[in-house]
């Protein structure tokens, strides 16, 4: 674990317990999850009991205690999407990948997340990966989407959906599922 990054995150925040959530958010953004050593460092630096750091990290959905898969399939489970059949999408993802939401496939490639609303309700049901929104999804379309990622991954070895990675300009970040 690169301690330099953590140091810079903690810089200027020592002995400020109320900064705990902001610090954890920076760690999550940088590392993709909250490593145990990070929690120990944060506890010392901020003056918060270790159990409190662990408690906050386990309470909020934004913080993952384990690394996620390379491709995170996010299914929107907001009311509008639910009414349009998002449950079937979730069932499809679970059966196709063989994991439950929050888990990672054995090859480390995929994990499934559920989100409570991405704010694009007119286009539901929505499945998202790496910031790209796949709208008006059906179980069949989702199946094809996941398989296409697998194919691309085998071919290129780099991030198969990198082309969806967002774009310049201060205007148009699609909502991040986290």
């Amino acid at each position: 674990m690169e301690s330099m990054q953590l140091e810079s995150i903690l810089n200027g925040r020592s002995s400020q317990p109320h900064q705990l959530i902001e610090v954890l958010q920076d760690v999550q953004e940088n590392y993709g999850y909250i490593p145990e050593e990070a929690m120990r460092e944060i506890s010392k630096a901020l003056g918060v009991p270790l159990i409190e750091v662990y408690r906050v990290a386990s309470f909020y959905k934004a913080f993952k205690l384990k690394p996620t898969g390379k491709y995170v399939i996010t299914i929107c489970n907001g009311t509008a999407c639910h009414v349009r059949g998002s449950q079937l999408l979730l069932d499809q993802a679970i059966s196709q990948l063989g994991i439950q939401p929050g888990e990672v496939t054995e090859d480390g490639l995929f994990s499934i997340e559920c989100v409570n609303c991405l704010g694009a309700c007119a286009l539901g049901p929505i499945a998202s990966e790496n910031g790209s929104f796949q709208h008006h999804m059906t179980p069949a379309k989702l199946r094809k989407f996941i398989e296409s990622i697998r194919r691309e991954e085998k071919k290129e070895g780099k991030h198969a959906t990198a082309s969806y990675e967002k774009r310049p300009g201060d205007y148009a970040e699609a909502a991040s599922p986290r």
Binding site: P17, H18, Q19, L20, I21, E22, L24, Q25, V48, E52, R55, V56, F59, Y60, K61, A62, F63, N77, G78, T79, A80, H82, V83, G85, L88, D91, Q92, S95, V115, N116, C117, L118, G119, A120, C121, A122, L123, G124, I126, F133, H135, T138, P139, A140, K141, R143, K166, R167, G169, D170, Y171, A172, E173, A174, A175, S176, P177, R178
Partner: protein
Amino acid sequence: MQQLATRRDLETTRKQLLLDRKKIDKTLIICGGTGCTASRSQDVIDTINQELLMQDLDFSVRLRITGCHGFCEQGPIMVIEPGNIFYCHVTPNDAHEIVTKTLRDGEIIERLLYTDPVSGRKIQTEAEIPFYQAQDRQLLSKNREINPCSLEDYIAIGGYMALDKVINSLSPEEIIHEIKVSGLRGRGGGGFPTGRKWTECYEAPGDEKYVICNADEGDPGAYMDRCVLEGNPYLVLEGMMIGAYAVGATKGYIYVRNEYPLAVKHARLAVQEARKYGLLGEDILGSSFSFDVDVARGGGAFVCGESTALMASLEGKVGEPRPKDVHTVVDGLWHKPTTLNNVETWANVPSIILNGAGWFASKGTKGSKGTKILALTGRIKNTGLVEIAMGTTIRDVVFGIGGGATNGKAIKAVQTGGPSGGCLPVDKFDLPVDFDVLYEAGSMVGSGGMVVMDESSCMVDVAKYFLTFLQDESCGMCVPCRLGIDRMLEIITDITEGRGTLEQLDLLEELADTVTQTSLCGLGKTAANPVLSTLRYFREEYEAHITNKKCPAGVCKALIEYFIDPEKCTGCGKCKRSCIHSAISGEKKEPHVINAELCQKCGICLSECKFEAIQVK
């Protein structure tokens, strides 16, 4: 733009900006709000930019990227001034034609115009579109006038005039009185009278006070606050400053949920700019009023929309609510008097100050004044954000603005107020959107989410959905919420899987009542509403699940069967090929058959069949 250290600076700057605006011939407004972004409006923006450059029009045409216009179903949306020309479903391929034909030559492109689904005719201007006409867009209409990242735009359209008036001619008591008389009530869900809240905070002893903007917006299906904060962050800031001046606070927080990175970004930018030009900090506009704001992100917890949980989160702790025997306006953030209001509530404040309480109170009903933004979604033709005067009937919203049912199915119910609200059947659609009326009917206005359901929605399944959501989001501290919701969900799951008994319905009602009365916080106290309201109005659906072991809407998997209608099936074999459970058999060109024992009702075949031959019973 110069520093805005005094009122005169503000006035002269505003005048200059207005003159600059008048110099621009043509403005091309493109919506960069979430819905349109998901429809790839950014690609449209990029190609338009390129076209303008290539055709040397980038100096005479102003490209303004705005926040959400509300008509998300039609996105990406574009409006061209002068002429108020409205184009919808714009794609990057249209860029060249738009720039050449409309901007350069002044011609309208018919195929990009909006088609009214009822009359079938094409409508040219934004102002004539029925979806917009039926609304009262006090707040949302401002979004199209500004680029949310531009302080200049905000000042040009009259921004900070209300703050100016407040600082220099109104006392805190006068401001609070104005808000009281206006009848403004909390827009975040509670509907608590804002004037009363500010009075209590003003009267609370203490030198250090806070104002907080609750932008946690946890209700799934609700995104009004996101659009106001993303599309007009300065408006929210101005409202907060007026409130802070009134109650005596010098520090404020905007708490934005973690899932809204764009709103966080725009709020932070607005704060930065305001600080830079002297509209935040010490001695604002030449007065002795000092105020500063920080933007904080949530960690991903619906419960943090509850005021005490939000404050705990700001203090760096877990979002566990505290008992409110002493109100947060007296003992709030860091145990200091705190005024917490929702984004939309703050956004309404400047116009009340400028136009007067009477103007605000002239709209709406006796108990609910002003306008409310609703997130209208679900099984209707026009979905998106709508702003209506309080008192508009549900029917007018669903049919008048929403355009009625999509897919030809009959509308069955409307769910309002998110997980804390309830479902109302069609025979209640003549009720007005009013805090007290909807509460009496067993639902609530809540934050403004309104999901329309048709006969393909099972109301028991809807109750199950909300209970599952709340169980996931409960902080888990108190017994009635943690165990009560769990047991309610257990009973409802039994019902949806064919194991329900009629005694369980009585137990469900009693349990729901207990959870409502004994839970510590608002989440638990309102958790039973989806169950209670569906039991009240759709009891026959529950009974059908229990007595007949059938799901009338065809949703609950254990109680339905997929089958192929032999009259519609062409034997194309698509379903057989796509079935992952090998449950479909049949010869080519012969009607196929589903083996009910192998069928897992995953829905793949249903979505693949182009002949609607696969049915659910």
